[in-house]
Symmetry: C2
Subunit: 213 residues, 2 copies
């Protein structure tokens, strides 16, 4: 255990870190509100700092640019949905059902909240943002299915990127109004087929009711 | 048959249309050269018109913005690769092999020409550009496979967008150096599984040698 002197020296950066964390959260929250209320293009960094009630200059202690805070807001928002899916799938034993619920959740969410989905798919950083927010979860669910002998893929890394790309492609089409209400279930079926389930099996898994929290 | 008077009235807009077409082609070629030589960000509209040897103002008779001509250059470039795939697959009878060759061609091209692939996947318009350039061909190949009883999908439209998204996701990963040399074959195998082939069948199709023109 360190002496008292050292503790108090340590306490200063901790307070600083906590303050920094709070400012970061306020900037993120302000940006989220403004992007949603008036659009990204119409929102300036000055408005974000004003809404967050922090000095203009301190924005740059946290983010490089408006695009940078937009990325952060989107990663946080997708990550939040990833946590929702984790909660939804907590009691499920079949890795195929877990994967089905995850993809159905995201496509359904794109249908129910097109503004949110438009933000995600409009980015040239879409793949990178999705990977940052969901890559670890997707890789975990894929590995579980492979370990359980439920999924059979030629290359797990190719499958990971193909899954993410397919999800983005379908979400993009939903946002553009190109797909109807069954898109989530139909996408999940194709996905499970890609991961190695046969048609009857995939169709049965995606026909299960969505779990609730 | 129209009288001579009308013919000559018709001839003027045709000459105009041909001139317009030539100017368009020169602007596209100039943009292609400059984007490749010095990058998109560093290229101005003034440089494009100078390289094309047309007046600055006439650019706007053809394109709205630099992004607009970039879109057009990319669509033309992907479309060109689509024609290469059409030639490659001309003699093939199995719709599954046609689809396999098409996707292997695009992933392999991303590996061999990362600058080209980076241009395609960096766009927030990636899905739209790919759909404009390849959507009709992809839908045709998908329909052929369904009609032949070779593909079995829950919803052809969902399959179309999922296929395109998966291809973009894999190309993106190739550009980022996240996938190795077998990515093209492994992606094609997953794709054929998604379209309804069983594992042994999909693996056999993607193991066939690539046709040559």
């Amino acid at each position: 255990m360190p002496p008292a002197q050292e503790q108090s020296v340590d306490a200063a950066p901790t307070r600083g870190a906590r303050r920094r964390e709070r400012t970061n959260a306020r900037l993120m929250q302000a940006a989220r509100v403004l992007f949603a209320r008036q659009g990204i293009d119409a929102t300036t960094i000055a408005e974000i700092t004003q809404e967050a009630d922090v000095g203009f200059g301190s924005f740059y202690n946290h983010f490089d640019s408006k695009d940078d805070i937009l990325d952060a807001v989107l990663v946080a928002s997708i990550d939040e949905q990833g946590s929702v899916v984790d909660a939804l799938t907590e009691g499920l034993d079949d890795p195929a059902e877990v994967m089905s619920v995850a993809h159905r959740h995201f496509v359904t969410r794109a249908q129910q909240d097109p503004d949110w989905a438009r933000l995600i798919v409009r980015l040239d950083a879409s793949h990178r943002v999705l990977l940052r927010a969901l890559g670890a979860r997707a890789a975990r669910d894929l590995d579980n299915g492979i370990a359980a002998g439920r999924f059979h893929v030629a290359d797990p890394r190719v499958a990971l990127f193909a899954m993410g790309g397919a999800l983005l492609g379908v979400m993009q089409a939903v946002v553009n109004g190109d797909l109807d209400g069954d898109a989530a279930v139909h996408h999940a079926e194709g996905l499970l087929r890609m991961l190695g389930l046969d048609q009857a099996d995939a169709r049965a898994v995606v026909a299960l009711p969505m779990p609730s929290i």
